[in-house]
Symmetry: C2
Subunit: 413 residues, 2 copies
């Protein structure tokens, strides 16, 4: 019998308990042994819950109970989760978590403790909610060298962009609907400013390239500057704007990584990912492009990933099969100044002829775009691949003849 | 040190050896031990191969060598592979295979032997080539009850349909290009008649529902009757025609399963899967729809899945972690007469008014379609969900007033 503790009884925590008891019998068959949840940690009271006898308020009860060998941390944040998870692993208990902030900030350290203590630290639910992606990359694509990984990793921003693209709705209005539907928080900054996506691409990049990438080293932009005009221009050239987190192995062993809104061709498997759905594209040297698609958040999808990790942890007691990546100086993270990609630019010219001359001189492969009700002095175009420094220098020259209204990187996935 | 034998040095076999030696160092790290290929079985001579010392022509050398604990079977077919794999498992060796025919025909038996002998039988490469799907369903979606599974599982037919849809090319011409490019065999029947898709959906259904479904019990239609006219009508209502294998859990515990060309709405994640790509949609009760996309065939993608299974087998020696499903009477496979779905119908009327009256009486939710150069006496429509018996009865009544030129089932994925 494997005894489990669930830390936190919020949305994911209550979903975890629900999915666990709903499928208990089949889960036990898959784990090859009996399973039960012994404790649920929450500071609140749940006197009406059918599980009310399991609730405790003191983590030490769980930590000091040798019967508990698997802990599911679904509190979120770092304040409580980090010391709880660290001490649990140090006490020789396996931990599974849905907490991307924890894994992105402390993954290397926690994985090392798990390895040392011969227990497991699993976090399938931390990226892509219910989409299997961490374990498949780790165990199915291991015969590949992963060259690139890119994803639509945040459902809230993808919902907002989908509303803008499909319904011609402005950002503020789309955000309000997302909030009304419970997809976006009252303070939506973690989503719309790209921080949530940043944590997830850090986890994926650490996994794919074997070295921990910390969020503070990743160039991160959100979607708040994307306008309906940008959406319309991109529509005119069969492209969509998506918030993308991407990481790429460069030839010298460095990693290029960033989070930003990106123009994506309609043929891309990422362009058709709409509403709150997520998708992760993995480019392997043997397998080519593989894409994992599904619901990236939500109570039951995320809980199902947590419960699946609980079963894996129960099945592999006394063997550390969780992955590892190294902690290391962030010198392998290439400066974002050197990031290279194509670009979409929108410009309001004071002197149109002069602006066009600068564009001709500074950019190559320029394709001009148009939209309905396009002002006479507006210019919009997509230009070939350039690095950030060159783009910034070109835009500065262009600014002598008007105002840069928008610039969105264009990616080729 | 784990010693491996590769049975068969064709496309997948030589790819397996290539990927293995290319990534040997990282694979050993992942397996936690040294690995080497000791034998390659092939009746042909490969005197110029760098691996020429490993070639043997007699399977018994491999079978009787106790050093060999993992065997990769990539011969294909049943004639040699079935006795080889069976005797290898019985001798206590783990087996990995890319052979869908073997798994679809003998999976339950071979899995039972593996379990009994405490070894593993893995077959990630048998469905979806390089796309991780078998292991993710088995180990990541285990907290779900899988309700439905559907996929574009054959790259050759998807390439042909993509040519018809995108380039307005007829079936014969598209098939010829597929043959010239090496995507289709000289005798293309296993692909275009749906048999390859049938084997794959049988494997997926057996895995998802826990009972072996045999190909001979699955209604299977290919794409040879799909016309450009059908493609055009479907385009007019924002749909695509794809060859789909699908299986669904019914309320009474039966399984509905079939292989046929299907009309799919453009918004579906399956509609945008083009050329030789494959995609598998899994509908779980907790996670909702999850889609796995990538190259479903080809030397290196398939080989990478075989090599990944080799590493898993090496890592889990002396523990049987491979899945199981039961062999059982096929009474749980629902008669295809009861299969229910929407339908696209194309009809050449001798008496148009009479035909329209029959359509009105026999079908519901009829949406008439049109195309360029549509003959006056032609009728095309999509109608609401009906079971096979009702559709066949309605089409028979309709036939009194002309000829049914086409009928394609419409699915809602």
């Amino acid at each position: 019998m494997v005894k489990i503790a669930v830390l936190g009884y919020g949305v994911v925590g209550s979903g975890t308990v629900e999915v666990f008891y709903k499928n208990k019998e089949s889960l036990e068959k898959k784990a090859g042994q009996e399973l039960d949840i012994k404790y649920i940690l929450d500071i609140r009271d749940f006197d009406d819950s059918p599980y009310k006898d399991k609730f405790v308020k003191d983590f030490d009860i769980i930590l000091n109970d040798p019967e508990v060998t698997v802990i599911a941390e679904v509190i979120g944040g770092l304040k409580f989760s980090y010391p709880y998870v660290k001490s649990a692993l140090e006490a020789g208990k396996s931990v599974v978590t849905s907490n991307k902030e924890l894994v992105a900030a402390k993954g290397a350290e926690l994985l090392a403790i798990a390895k040392e203590k011969n227990v497991n630290f699993f976090f399938e639910a931390s990226v892509g909610g219910g989409i299997p992606v961490i374990k498949p990359i780790h165990t199915c694509l291991e015969a590949n060298e992963i060259d690139e990984i890119a994803g639509i990793l945040n459902g809230t921003t993808n919902f907002i962009l989908t509303k803008m693209i499909r319904d011609g709705m402005g950002f503020d209005e789309a955000l309000k609907i997302a909030q009304d539907l419970g997809y976006a928080e009252r303070d939506p900054s973690a989503d719309v400013d790209g921080h949530d996506t940043c944590r997830k691409i850090c986890i994926l990049a650490s996994l794919a390239f074997g070295k921990h990438v910390y969020p503070e080293n990743v160039h991160t932009e959100g979607i708040t500057k994307v306008t309906l005009e940008d959406v319309n221009y991109c529509d005119s050239c069969d492209c969509k704007i998506k918030l993308i987190g991407c990481a790429k192995r460069e030839e010298n062993g460095e990693i290029s990584i960033g989070v930003f809104p990106a123009v994506i061709r309609d043929e891309s498997q990422l362009a058709g990912v709409n509403d709150v759905f997520n998708a992760i594209l993995v480019r392997g040297d043997a397998t080519g492009d593989v894409v994992f698609y599904g619901k990236g958040a939500g109570k039951l999808p995320t809980a199902s990933a947590v419960v699946s990790d609980i079963v894996s942890a129960a099945k592999h007691q006394n063997t550390s099969i969780s992955l590892t990546w190294k902690d290391s100086e962030q010198t392998f993270v290439r400066s974002f100044d050197k990031f290279s990609c194509a670009n979409y630019i929108r410009f309001a010219a004071t002197d149109k002829a002069a602006a066009e001359a600068v564009i001709k001189a500074e950019f190559s492969g320029v394709e001009y775009l148009s939209r309905n009700n396009m002002p006479d002095n507006e210019l919009a175009f997509i230009a070939d691949v350039m690095d950030e420094n060159s783009v910034n220098a070109a835009l500065e020259k262009l600014s002598a003849h008007g105002e840069v209204l928008g610039r969105i990187r264009a990616l080729d996935y």
